[in-house]
Every structure is written in C-alpha cells, then in structure tokens.
C-alpha cells in the first residue's frame, strides 16, 4: 500500500530533520549526517537539495538566513511534530522487539 508523504520518514529524512532541530546551513547537513551516524548514513547532494525543497513546501522547515546562495533552515513546529512522530514510531518498534525477544528468552 502506498504510504502518505512524510507519514513515515526515510533514514535520510529523519537525520536531515534532526540536524535542523538547530538552525543549520543546508549544505552543511551533508557533513553533519555522516558525523552524527558514524558514517553509517550518507546523504547525496541531489537528495538533500530535493528533500529541503520538499520540507519547505510541506512547511516542515523554514528559511532563517540567506548569505548569497547559502541558506539556513530550522524546523517548524509541524516539522518537529513529524520528527517526534517518527521517533515514537521507532521507539515503539524497538520496544516491540525487546518485548518479543525477552519473552522468548525468559518464558
């Protein structure tokens, strides 16, 4: 079944939004995400550019500053809600994992 846009986030979306919980220049996210994840997640420049456009359109982030073509962004309350929603979804998944595997280990 096709999922609604931003109903769940991909790993790349999640970390981009996480970076933008503090004001951040768009281009710098490319360095911040691998640093944040120990190199596990890498965001391509084209993907980042397009996702920032989509987040702006969906009013999940807003532009805070523009120095030439260097633009900074920050999460909006809507973006924060989406990010928190994803966090809770991941927590629930992790909780389910723990509960089921612990039941198997200690009957």
């Amino acid at each position: 079944m096709p999922r609604l846009k931003f109903q769940t986030l991909t790993e790349q979306m999640y970390y981009i939004l996480l970076c933008l919980s503090r004001e951040c220049c768009g281009i710098d996210i490319m360095d911040q995400v691998p640093a944040m994840t120990g190199g596990r997640v890498r965001v391509g420049s084209g993907t980042l550019y397009n996702l920032l456009e989509q987040f702006l359109q969906a009013e999940m982030i807003r532009e805070t500053r523009a120095e030439g073509r260097r633009r900074s962004y920050i999460l909006t309350p809507k973006g924060r809600r989406v990010l928190e929603g994803e966090y809770h979804r991941l927590c629930t998944q992790a909780e389910d994992y723990r509960r089921i595997l612990e039941e198997e280990v200690s009957p």
Binding site: T10, M30, S45, G46, T47
Partner: protein
C-alpha cells in the same frame, strides 16, 4: 581538432546509467566531457583516469535560458560540496563528474530520482507517443502498399526510403517507451525497498535505425533515376541541414546576448518557420522556372512505341507524357500517347513497362497487374460483387511474347487492354484502336527487352 573529440550517441532520455558509463569510459581513454549541444557531446583531452560520472535531471531547465537559474546554481553548490563538478548541461540533463575514489552519489534516495526522471519523461512523452503513432500509421500504410501495390513501392527508391524511415521511427519509439515503462515498473518496486535499478536505453537500436536511414538515403540518391529528382532532393537535404545549423546558432547567439528564454524561443522558432517557407518556396520556384525555360526537363526520354509506329499518324500530331521510377528491385516506365485535339480522329495508346530485376519478385508484380482492374465498375448488390473486369489468358504468338493476358468486361467483352510478358519484363498496354495482328507484332517488337 587536436585536443578535442566529438561523438553523437542518441541515448534514451531516461538512460542515466548508459550515459554515465559512456562518459566514464571516455574519461578512462583520456577524454573529459566539455559541453553538450544538439550536435552531440564534445570532449577535451586529459590524462586518462578513473572518473565517476552522474547524470541528474533538472526538468525545469530550458535549453533557451541565457544562464542557469538561482536554484540550479544552488544545486551545483550542493554537488560541488561533495566533489561533484558540473561538466555540461543540456535540456533536462546535467552531467557531473567526481575525481574522488568513492564519492557519495548525488542521489541517495531512489524515490527522488524516480520522480525527477518521471517529470522529465512526462514532458517528452507526448512527443514520443506522437511519433510512435505516426510511425505506426505511416508504416502500416507502407506495408499495405507493399503487399497490395508492390510495383508502385518497389520501383521507387524514394518510397522504399520513406517507408524505412517510418518503420524505424515506429520501432524505435515503441521499443523506447516499452523499455522505459518496464524499467519504471521495476524501479518503483525497488525504490520502496530503497534500491536503485540501472537503466537500459535503446541507443543501439536508434544508431542502427539512423545507419539504415542514411544508407536508405544514399541508395535513394544513387539509385533513383527519376528525372529532376536530384535537382530537388539534394538542395532539400542540404538546406534542411543548413536550417538546423542556423536555428541552433541563433539560439546560442541569443543565449550569449542574455536574451530571455521566451524571447529566444519566439525568435528561433519564427526564424525557423520563415526560413523554411522561404527556402522551400525558392527551390520550388527555381524548379518551375527551370522546367519552363527548358534548362532541365522532367521528361524521361522518348517512348519506345508511338502511335506513328502503328498507324499513319504523323508524329508531330501526337503528344506524349511519361513517368519513370527506377530502383534496384523494379523499374517502371509509364507512357501516355494521344493525338492532339486538332486531329479529327482521336487515338490514344498508353502502356506501362515493368522490368523486374529480382526473379523472385516476378510473381508478386504479375499478381498486382492481373488484379489492378478488379475494382473497375464492379456491380454490387447488398455489398456483394456480382461481376468483375478480369484478365484472361490470351495467345502470346501475335505479340512474339512468352505469355499474354487480355482484359474482359463484366459482360464478357474482350477489351484492347493486354498484359504481355517477356523474360523479366511485363507490359500493360491499353489502346483506343482495335489492334490488328500486324500491329500486335509491331508492338511486341518495340516493347520486348532488347
């Protein structure tokens, strides 16, 4: 030019894998992509090395825009930050290269790439569908003619060439669209799993098609003996090529002058239209003037048989027209000879000489001639034909021919309309006079192959 290389590979619009692989191969050979134009890809010399290429899609990009938009420049900044440098851009394509060993790809989300390619393809889709349907319609008409009127088609190198072009067009666009939608279906499924699917375009098919069309054009120019054809065709091909160059140069010049995209489009297209009409008008006018002044003639030469050969009619009281079509497969010459209106008794003779150069085509050519008049005055009742004109076998001896057929009316009346056969030659003869045995012999002598 030394230090520069050029190639033209008609990659499918969506074939980012094929384009990147080709550019990486060129870089390994010591050629780095420098620019892309409507005439192909241009490279500059460099040290042969492993270079990564990525083709991205920017559907909003206009070929007519004088300079990249702010958004495009920002996109380039993002790419440059991760080591991807723009080599060239053309239409919706942007070609980036990266010298790092293991660079982060420009697109790391297959859903986004799929959407970008989808947008670019949606713009090209009406064009592809139009040419596919046009190719289907024209190609089917061509095939219908091939099966039902083979002489008309096989005797004309021009018809063979145009038919080939329509079929190539149909096959290419059908294959290209089918390949794209097959790839898209797989790519949509894979994108849900976060995976990319390599593209595979139809450029080899297109290259083969273009080669076939060029061979067809060369064959047309070399083999067709239709009088006056080259006088029209060669300037037409040259001028079409020139028109293409002029409009492209105009577009580039206006871009350099920083003309807005809309203005550039308007001027370039208006110029293209005006020049097309002017040039075609000039060629047609020159041809008509040339024929009128006698500088050249469309006449295919003197007929092998005229009314004066058969009856005491002075040659100067007759007028003749002819039409000739020649190809390596079949030659067809048609002649119409009649007395001028000043003559009291009207006499007319018309005949078509068909020379079949390949023996296995003889039966299909004869079959066309034998059934060409089936549709004449068919009496129909409730849509069912009740009687036909039709050829019946006749005695070939009076003509000195190997075989002969005579046309009969639906009432069973024998008409002065014959098909004659000598070796590889078929002749269809219609006469307003009732031919005597002596006239038949004379006709045979004039029309049999020498």
């Amino acid at each position: 030019m030394k230090g520069q290389k050029h190639d033209f590979i008609p990659f499918s619009l969506y074939d980012r894998t094929g384009m990147a692989a080709h550019l990486e191969k060129r870089a390994a050979q010591g050629w780095l992509l420098d620019r892309v134009t409507a005439f192909g890809w241009y490279y500059r010399k460099m040290e042969p090395k492993k270079v990564h290429f990525a083709v991205t899609y920017y559907p909003k990009n206009s070929e007519y825009a004088p300079e990249p938009s702010e958004q495009q420049l920002t996109f380039r900044d993002f790419c440059a930050h991760s080591g991807w440098n723009l080599a060239a851009a053309f239409g919706p394509h942007q070609f980036y290269y990266n010298l790092k060993e293991d660079p982060v790809p420009i697109q790391t989300d297959p859903q986004i790439e799929l959407a970008q390619i989808g947008k670019a393809m949606r713009r090209a889709l009406p064009f592809s569908l139009f040419f596919m349907l046009l190719g289907l319609y024209m190609g089917c008409s061509w095939l219908w003619t091939l099966f039902h009127r083979p002489i008309n088609l096989l005797s004309s190198a021009g018809s063979l060439f145009t038919g080939l072009c329509w079929l190539v067009l149909f096959v290419f666009f059908t294959a290209d669209l089918a390949t794209y939608f097959t790839w898209r279906r797989r790519a949509v499924q894979a994108a849900r799993r976060g995976e990319f699917v390599p593209t595979r375009g139809c450029h080899r098919l297109m290259q083969t098609g273009v080669l076939l069309m060029l061979l067809g054009l060369a064959y047309w120019l070399l083999a067709d003996r239709t009088p006056g054809l080259r006088l029209f065709l060669i300037p037409f091909v040259a001028v079409t090529a020139l028109l293409y160059v002029v409009t492209n140069r105009t577009k580039e010049l206006l871009k350099r002058q920083k003309a807005p995209a809309m203005l550039n489009i308007t001027i370039t297209w208006a110029l293209s239209l005006i020049l097309s009409f002017l040039i075609m008008g000039s060629i047609t006018y020159s041809l008509i003037q040339g024929i009128r002044s006698g500088a050249f003639s469309l006449d295919s030469g003197s007929p092998p048989l005229i009314l004066s050969d058969l009856a005491p009619i002075p040659a100067e009281d007759c007028e003749a027209n002819s039409s000739v079509a020649n190809s390596a497969l079949v030659s067809r010459a048609r002649f119409w000879i009649r007395t001028t209106s000043t003559m009291g008794d009207y006499s007319a003779l018309s005949y078509t000489v068909v020379d079949v150069h390949l023996p296995w085509l003889y039966d299909i050519c004869l079959n066309q001639l034998l059934h060409e008049k089936d549709d004449l005055d068919v009496f129909e009742e409730d849509g069912e034909p009740v009687s036909h004109y039709g050829y019946r076998m006749a005695d070939p001896a009076p003509w000195g021919a190997e075989e002969a057929w005579q046309l009969y009316s639906p009432e069973g009346r024998a008409l002065e309309d014959y098909i004659l056969h000598w070796g590889n030659r078929l002749v269809v003869l219609e006469s307003s006079m009732e031919l005597t045995q002596e006239q038949m012999a004379l006709t045979g002598e004039h029309l049999e192959p020498s």
